[in-house]
Structure formats: C-alpha cells, structure tokens
Amino acid sequence: MEISNRGSPPDGCGKAANRLSINWKKRPENMDDFEKTDIEPIVRDLYDALDGKVDEETIRKEVDSYINVFHIPEEFARSGILKKLGNTRPAVGGQSVTKKIAELEGTEMNVTIVAKMVFVEKKKINAKGVEKTIISGIAGDDTGTTPFTIWSDTGDYEKGSVYTFRNAYTKKWRDQVQINIGNRGKVEPNTEVSFNNVSRAAGTGAQEMDIGSITDQTKNCTVTGKVSDLSSRTINVKGEEKTVWGGMMADRTGRIQFTAWKDFGLKEGDVVRAKNAYIRAWKGIPQLNLGDNTEVERSDKDIGTVADGVSAKTVEEVVRIGGGLDISITGTLVDLRAGSGLIKRCPQCNRSVLSDECTVHGRIEPVMDLRLKATVDDGTGAISAVIGRAETEKITGITLGRAEEIAKKKGDMGAVADMMAGALILKKVTVKGNIMTDDFGPQMIVHSADISKVDVQAEAEKLYDEVEGSM
C-alpha cells in the first residue's frame, strides 16, 4: 500500500475521489476480493423467484457478473437479472397471482393483493433532481400489514377502504416487503371484501424469518422450526382454567422459547411452520407466541441441522437484539464488582445477605457461597456476567472450602474477592448463558465460563493477509 502524504493529491489512481488517503494502488484488482459479496443467497432467491425455470448455474453466472464484475448494487442486479431471465416465462399479464400480505416474499413481479388502506398520503419526493408526487401508505389484510407505494399522483384513495392492487410488484427493504404499483399496475376499489382486524403499525407483516434474526423489536413473523422441550401447563385466565403449551423452537440459525395459547397439536420433534406468530420480549429476550391468528402446519421441509447449541455473538449484537438464550460472548474480564467472591446467603430464600440478617426471614444462620459478578467487555460493548459457584471454582481454582479458609485466615471475606480479581482481571474469558436486558444494561446468567485460549499467531497471520491483500 502506498499512502499519500496529507495534502498531496493521489496520483496515477483512478479513485481520486476516494478521499481517505489510502491509495489502493499496488494491486487494485485485489480490491475485488476485498469487497466480494456472497452471492449464493441471491442466486437461491432468484432461482425461487423464477420458479425454477432457469437453472442455478445460469443465474449464478449472471449474479456474479452483475455483483462482482460490474459492482451493481444488489437491488438493481436482482431486478436486472429477473428482467433478463424472466423472459423465458409466458408473457406477463395473464400470470398474475393473488396473494395475502403475509405470503408476499418481496420478489413478486406481478401480484394481486386485496387489502385495506390503513393509511394513505400523497408525498413529494425528489427523483434524480426532479420533483415528483407519489402516493404511499400502509395496506393491511387479515394476515398482516405492509407499506405500499403508487408511483403516480393520479387517483384519490380513502383511508379505511379496501382496494384491489392489481399487477403490483414487490421489493424487500430492510426485511420489510413493500408493494409497488408502477405503470402496469392498477388500484381499484373493492367493495366486496372487508377487513376488521387490521393493525395499523407498519412493519408488522408476518414475514418469513430466521429464528436467529428475530429481535425484541420483531412484531409478527412466520417461522419454520423444530419443536423441542414441549410441556403444557394450566393457567387461569379471568377465572377460567386454560391449558397452554410451551417449549423451544429451533432452526439452523437459532432457538427461541415459544408459548402456544391454544392446542395446535404440537409434538416433540415436529418441524412446523408457524404463520403469523407474534413476538413478545421479556427483559429483552424475544419469545414466540402462537395465538388465535397463528396458523400452524407440519412442514416436511428439510431444515438441516438445528441450532441446539450456543451462538457466539458480540455484545453489540446482543444490545441490538436485546437478549436471548444460549449466547456465548468472548471478551476481556475488565472488572469484578461488589458482591463477588465469598458471599452469605439466606438458607430459606437464597438471597445474598450482608450480615446474618435476611430482610425477609430475619435472624438467620447464613450459608456460604461463591459468586462472581464480572464485567466482560469485547470491544463492542460490555455485559454484566453473574457466575455461580461451580464455574467460579473452575475458573479461579479456588474452592468454597479454600475460600472460607482464606477468609478466616485474613479475617476478611473481601480477601477472597481480591485474590479472584488478581487471577481474573484482564484475562480473556468465554462466558455462555442467557442474556436479558434491564435498566442496568445486558446481564448474562452464566452457565459455563472458561478462560479462552487465543491462537495469536494464526489470528495475526490472518489479519496480516487481510491488510496486505487490500493494499
């Protein structure tokens, strides 16, 4: 890599507009590797969008050429390729399919949707320097809601009325399907249909989602996963006994706790597709709910190996998601907070107590225990990690018995915490467990804790290759 001095213009480089004073001059062709996009998901999407009428190899070649050779943004590449290869299909027009909003995938080229406009407005936009008026809003049916745009300013539409969106096409923007009415499209009033249960919130379309990408902000979704840990319990709703089912659902991207509020006939080990389920978060941990509006069907889809284990995440990701089950974080243990080391607990309620008095149970004979309240920071953020006795003994090498001896000898329980701090602070650790978020930020209840071994040599070589390769 050659670096221009501050102030002197980069010479002999076509990317003069690039004001960061890195001139990628030595081997500019390697920049392609540097930014190469994984095209496989796009190929699969397009294959599906073309109804399997074009073979994957042809599509792959096109995608590679669009994305990696010509650096066309993905969105334009998709539509370009669909246009190019879609000609093998019968002429557009007669082929329009009718879909419910929840069924939209964001790749439809010609689709008819019957939906209520729950919100509609005229909007001025600036398209390539030209001011243009369009109509946009939110359309909803009994399966969900999604934004729509009519790329023209003619026509008056009434909020609350049902319309047929004919010859629409759809796109996906930030995981949100959008309905578009272009030149070929038409929006006609439909007086035969009415929807009573449409929610107004945007982005509640029950889209197909990977379990791993569900966050505490997700509202409605459709997931396919394998059922495990199924159990039922009886709850009392307004004086009435009701049975609900709970368990875990997993796909290859993650696991989520679910509650089924009615009997869907779920069985352990079933792979099911839960359409229009909804998410409620508890302390940042998203939970899947199967309610009255949810349809559950058995799926014979091969979902591959499901995530039964732990997913490694960065703190930044955890903060974005809010929390979750079975998360692994590797970072530096930067602090041990008060309440670490040798502690006393009330034998009845297990609360930690500072003296021989429990706020609930009064005078008690406390039980001794070990615990760590650690702060683990991975450079993207910090979490609080609460580590119980067994794992504390494991990573510090200090057993409860030894800790009690130390405290006795020094006449100070705090001596144990000091020793543990000396052994652990600024060590790299991997903690695994469930994370929830409250007013004090994300906190992990740790199931297992280990001092991490880093292969510095290998990682450094990897970094060197990456840095050198991009210069």
Partner: protein
C-alpha cells in the same frame, strides 16, 4: 446507548488515542463525556496494554497521586493519572516496578491548554501486571479493531451521504455512523498511514519471524503526543471557571496548608459552580499538576 449500558472499553493504540482531541461534552450531569478519535471511535473508556516505563507520586505518601507513562509498543506513549477516587488502581501502583508489562482499564480525560493544545490521558480504574501472552492478545485485538475502523472509515468515505443518517442508511450501526460522521466533520480525512503503521508495528511484534512489510514510508517523526487544534473553542467556559477556582484556592489558603474543601465548595457555589462541577474542575487541575491534595480535606496550589 441506553443509560444503563456500561461504556465499552475501546482497544486503541496511542496513535489513535492521543490524537482524539475533540471532546463530545456530556449532555447532562452524570452523563458520560467522550473523546472522538480520528477514525470515529467515540471513547469514554479504554483498555490499553504495554510497558509501564515510569511512575511518579506527585501527591504525598499518605495521599498519593500517581502519574505514569505506558509505552504501547505499537505506536507510542499513553499518560495515566491516578488520584484518590481510583483507590484500587492507586493501591496497585505502589507495587508496580517499571519497566513492567501492565494493562489498564480507565476513563479518558482531556484538557486543552491556553495555546490550544489538547492532551489526552487515561485515569485508570484498574491497572494490573500482565504477562507477554496477555500483551500479545491485546496487540492482536487492538490491531484488529483499528483495522476495522480504517475499513469502515474507507467505506464511509465512499458513501454519497456522509452524515450520520446517510451512514445509517448504508448499514452502519448507530454508534459508528455517529462517530464517523462527526470525525469527518471535525477532522476531515484521517491520516491512515499513521494507523496502518501502528498495525504494522503490532504485527511485527506478533509475528517476529515474518518479514512484515505493508510498504509504508518509514518516517521517523515523533509520535503525536500533542495536537494543535485548528480553531480555539469559543464557548468553553471551563477555563474561566478554572480561574475562579484557582483564585478561590489562593484566597482561602490562609495558613499555608491549603484551602479547606468544605469552604471551597461553599464559595464556589456562590460563584455558580456546583459541587459536581467543582469536582470535575479540581480533578482537571490536578491532572494538569496545578494543584494537589496535601490531605483529604484540603486542596493547595502548587
């Protein structure tokens, strides 16, 4: 970041830390303030590691005020200051014998002199002796995260809209979008060579058998320990308040053993300086070495 989240300990080389001259001031009392790095890191807390090359007690044996220098191996020196509000770090300092390898977690502080030079230092919450393996892990982590910021910065420079909103649309997480947009606004194009050199130096330490060469010009210029600010900040009234506090200290030091804290607090309040503010100001003055604490209840000008 929500109020409850603990501030990230950024892994930064001294080259990035010492040039992070722009301060993002706290929006309200008890809110954190930040130093903005040239690569867009929004830094309140850091994790640094290196060789403690010197330490000095500028306080008294009973009320120590430690100063030290840490050479981070890759790029230069970081200054640390430990006062009475960092009891764990202060206690640890006593046992450290330079030169030795240490790691520090601490808060970043800055002050700007009258001629508009900004100095960045670290006030350790923890300082711990480490071994060579831990130091190497830090060098690796820091090289990786510095490289990531360089790549992000380059990507951001290619964006059509380099505002915070624009970068968020490009897919940057909220905090990076904010930091990068502000860094570009305040500093302009970063001198990437400086940061690449730090990465190169780290890699040379980690891979001594490999002939690491990123093709950078090997210049021998001094590490930037001080930075010229292009324009003096106009709305900075902290300097004025420092002057007020200094005057009060002189006035209240009637017996030559310093100004009593409670009296100082009372008088400062009359001057419109809250006790919180006073704490901050006196800490800054102690950092500058203008005043010290002869004992817990007194402050004295040097």
């Amino acid at each position: 970041m929500s109020a409850g989240n603990r501030e990230t300990a950024w892994r930064v080389f001294s080259s990035e830390l010492n040039t992070a001259s722009f301060e993002i001031k706290a929006e309200a009392e008890k809110m954190p303030s930040y130093q903005l790095s040239r690569l867009g890191a929004v830094i309140n807390r850091v994790l640094i590691a290196g060789v403690l090359t010197e330490k000095e007690n500028v306080g008294t044996p009973d009320e120590p005020m430690w100063r030290g220098r840490i050479q981070d191996v890759a790029s230069g020196t970081v200054y640390i200051n430990i006062g009475r509000y960092q009891p764990e770090a202060a206690a640890a300092m006593v046992d450290l014998e330079p030169p030795c390898l240490v790691a520090v977690v601490g808060k970043v502080k800055s002050y700007t002199t009258e001629d508009q030079r900004t100095y960045v230092s670290v006030r350790p919450e923890r300082i711990i002796p480490i071994n060579a393996d831990t130091q190497k892990e830090w060098l690796l982590d820091t090289a990786k995260s510095t490289w990531k910021r360089l790549v992000d910065m380059k990507k951001a420079m290619g964006a059509a809209d380099r505002t915070e909103k624009g970068l968020e649309k490009e897919g940057f997480p909220e905090l990076s979008a904010k930091g990068i947009a502000l860094a570009l606004e305040k500093y302009g194009t970063p001198d990437s060579a400086m940061f690449l050199k730090s990465i190169q130096a780290a890699l040379r330490t980690l891979l001594p058998d490999k002939n690491i060469d990123l093709g950078l010009q090997e210049d021998l210029s001094e590490n930037p320990e001080e930075i010229d600010l292009e324009s003096p900040s106009a709305d900075d009234d902290s300097e004025d308040k420092e002057d007020i506090v200094l005057e009060l200290l002189t006035e209240l030091d009637t017996e030559g053993k310093g100004a009593p804290r409670d009296e100082l607090e009372r008088r400062a309040e009359q001057e419109g300086i809250s006790s919180m503010e006073l704490e901050e100001i006196t800490n800054n003055l102690m950092d500058k070495g203008v005043i010290y604490e002869p004992n817990l209840r007194y402050l004295k000008r040097i």
